[in-house]
Point group: C2
């Protein structure tokens, strides 16, 4: 079947053909609009208009709006773990400092006007149906987050690593949500402090 839609947006290097420029523009615009205003709130017409392309161009690169939303989240996923790994790399062998660095960054990020939380979390709220393409990306991302946090709780020497890992996840999700709910001066700025208290209380004596 020659109906292979070009979802793979890999930028071909050097001499190779630098293909679908439209697809990249579309995904960039969709990323911004979906994140800031919500997926359901944005129609494909607005996306193609802002991207300076036309609708058929969108549907040549993406099989549906739902799949475009999933692509947006896959991009979000990439950048999410980049940020996560930066915090980890900044404190080699010190998981507690890694967590603190990651949460301090989140806490800061929530303290800007019109902060919109986590794109993954938001997408899951918008699409309760577990079979929706966007939600599946979101759920996979969160499972991975849970896995990493629990592993770090083990490395920290927690009495009950699963409980601590999950507690950290709750604080993080709480920061994402309350960041967009309260705006400046909200509870999210206290996330790193509370996480550190929780860690301290969870270590083996």
């Amino acid at each position: 079947m020659p109906t292979d839609k070009n979802i793979d947006l890999t930028i071909s290097e050097g001499h190779a053909s630098p293909p679908p420029k439209a697809a990249k523009k579309i995904l960039d615009v969709a990323y911004d609009l979906f994140y800031r205003r919500g997926i359901r709130a944005i129609g494909v017409d607005e996306i193609v208009k802002r991207a300076g392309v036309t609708k058929p161009s969108l549907y040549r690169s993406f099989p549906s709006k739902d799949e475009l939303a999933a692509s947006y989240l896959r991009q979000y996923d990439l950048e999410y773990w980049e940020r996560f790994d930066e915090a980890v790399a900044a404190h080699p062998g010190d998981p507690r400092a890694q967590i603190k660095a990651f949460l301090t960054r989140i806490g800061k990020r929530t303290q800007v006007a019109d902060y919109r939380g986590c794109g993954m979390t938001n997408a899951a709220v918008e699409y309760p149906d577990h079979s929706h393409p966007a939600r599946m990306v979101s759920e996979a991302n969160k499972q991975e987050l849970r896995r990493r946090l629990r592993a770090m709780a083990v490395a920290m020497g927690a009495q009950d690593p699963d409980t601590l890992g999950d507690g950290l996840l709750l604080l993080i999700e709480g920061a994402y949500i309350s960041g967009q709910l309260f705006g400046l001066g909200g509870p999210a700025q206290a996330v790193a402090r509370n996480a550190d208290l929780l860690i301290e209380a969870s270590l083996k004596k």
Copy 2:
């Protein structure tokens, strides 16, 4: 101006006229659909169909879909504080036990299939615009939650009550979100345990 739409759904007692039956049916159905599937995902046509009424009936009782959504959240708000006050009343003068009771209940509630989190939180995610009627109800509810939690942190004798109150709020919001993200066996079941650890670590020595 005689355009007083009947948003007040007070049930008149006894002999008084038991008016708008349609409005109640509409709000009940809207409540269920908005909560389970999301506000943006549900059209007014589906609401009136499931309620067994017609569209003009809806627009005689509610000025717009947005206002119907706000009414849904006002109802949600009422029931929310009912549940909160139940946990408080169960442990008079013992804020720590009150929190524990409230969070244990949340933790249990999240452990059912197709749990959909907090209607207030979800609405805020669906409507980033701060001027949207539904979002305004949601934000007011969360401000009140923050106020109460901080007051309870004071009553518990926390070293830094604002930080503890906000930490509890983060855990709660995290439970709402991860409850619907992870389904059974998710991190939300650990919310009460983590809250208690955090409280213990936050008290004056």
